[in-house]
Amino acid sequence: MSSQQEQIREAARAYLEGGVVSVVIGYEHGPKGQVRPAFVYEAGDVDRLIWSRECNQNLTTYLHSFKHSPRRGAPVPRVAVVVRACDARAVNLLLHEQQIERDNIKVIGVVCGDREARGQERQACRYCQEREPVIYDTLVEPEAPVKLSETPDDYADILEMEEWAPQERLAYWLTEFDRCIRCYACRQACPGCYCFECVAEQVDPHWSSIAVELPEKFFFHVMRAFHLAGRCVGCDACEAVCPMDIPLSKLNRKLAKEVEDLFGYRTGDDPAALPPLATFNPEERLPL
């Protein structure tokens, strides 16, 4: 079997040559060897695309850039996107929330290899038990068999945090948020954050001050975490892009754990399952 990189390039070439899509979103190397998102418009350019275990950005956030018609009367562009298993659940999320149309996207789903090495670098990969992405049009198989994590996420860090006294928890988060510069990189990198006007920036009504100070930072992060409850796919893109190393995934994981415990629901797993926070069920009784 050819390398995963070769398979990605082949799929991209086929989609572009066949006119199936107008752009392929994948990964490339920057001038300093760093991995970054790539947008390939020509079949002749597909050799820019790469695959390595440093390919860690969730590219589905860019689907929002292509979901509208660029000009009046022009069709919505068709796009192919390279996804990992966690990103694929974000595709399901966006389909569910009617942000994208299935017919307009081609999903190049990659089975992540190198699990151990990935897991050392990223918490999201450490417990990952997903082999194939839940949604794909082209599956990119690994050359060597993949050894998945045998233990599911035990939420050890979250259970530990839950043990802290409320004042301790507050002190911890205020110290972390104090470094925030309100750059919104977390929000922008997140496929689930796509409001036309974010509450943090809304002018009328003016919910949040423009100040880059602790109350506003606290409000922003807590508000964002709540808006992602039952919607976060756990890709950790927010934490990865934070220039101040704020452990944002901890907030998201806490809420993901709550949603799992209460509703047995994990974001994007099953495209047919109704998201708990977007569902009204009169029979529902929470164990309060």
């Binding site: 920057g30 001038p31 300093k32 760093q34 991995v35 970054r36 998102p37 790539a38 947008f39 418009y41 950005q57 956030t61 860019y62 850039s65 110290t175 972390e176 470094r179 510069i181 309100r182 750059c183 919104y184 990189a185 929000r187 922008q188 990198a189 006007e197 920036e201 002018v203 003016h206 001050s209 423009i210 100040a211 880059v212 100070e213 990865a240 892009v241 220039p243 101040m244 190393d245």
Partner: protein, 345 residues
Amino acid sequence: MRVLTQSQLNEWLDDLATRLRLVAPVDVQGRLLYRPVRDHEAIAWGYERSDMSPKTWTFPATEAIVTIEQGSETQINDAPPPDPTVIFGVRPCDARAALAIDALFLEKEPRDGRYAELRDATTLIGLACPEMWDSCFCTVVGGLPNGTDGLDMLLTELEGREHGQSYAVQVLSAKGERLLAGVTVQDRDVALPEPKLTEGLPTLSPSSEWKAAFDDVYWQRLGDRCLACRACTFVCPTCRCFDVRDEVASRRPGHTVFERLRAWDACTSAPYRRIAGGHNPRPTPQSRLRNRFYCKFMYYPDDFGPLGCVGCGRCIDTCPVSIDILEVISDVARLAARESAEVRA
């Protein structure tokens, strides 16, 4: 030349910290930030380039420039005068950045009174860089790792540590002279070490070449990747755009306090350019990212003199999707060369 040993420097800094606000690079949970320090021990000695620039002290991220109290009568108060502040360990690029901001706020009418107060109250003690680190490109935009522009004083670590670490002191302004008055220094014959420069960096195109490249599809493709966050502009020592809004600070029956807040804003984010009625003349990340580079290398130098970039490289290291200003500089030179070849043909 005047020389301070490490212990003399420590003593001096400790003394300064008792008399005024001493700000220096500090390790804050792994991030290097300029923060007030009580003594020399809090300083992250041996640091390279900070994660946020010292701009945060002369152009704060948030500031109440005016307070309006509305009770039985209305009272308008200017912001209280700033505390006298010494920033220690300013890298030469960041001092040049302060000069670049001065060109807009101080040298053109209307003068920004609050910014002038903050600048007047602040003394910059530089620390020369022994080399250009990864991502540094000050030499591309007219700076040097041991440049003195914009500083009140520059310290240079001396090689040959037989007497322990010591620093050559260049006093560069009357403010610097006043600060050093009465401090014990040695007078030694020393040669300043030459910093190690990075070779093979691109040449910056003049603004005319940037102008010629404005409509190239390059900007569309570059901006595809941009997440439209504000990280690059907030870590930039030269970006100085802000938003102003009147907000209620406190309210009780018959008495309301409003603050006129000024807070950093970023041209890369969507609301920056949105105007009344919701129209946005720069609606796409592509158009906004292009604006950021054109501001730095064409609009700002054409309108105010200095370049809007000092080559600190923070945006290169911070951008979550690796948009690299140095790569853009090379690409524009290449686009300009292609353009002129086409014109000749």
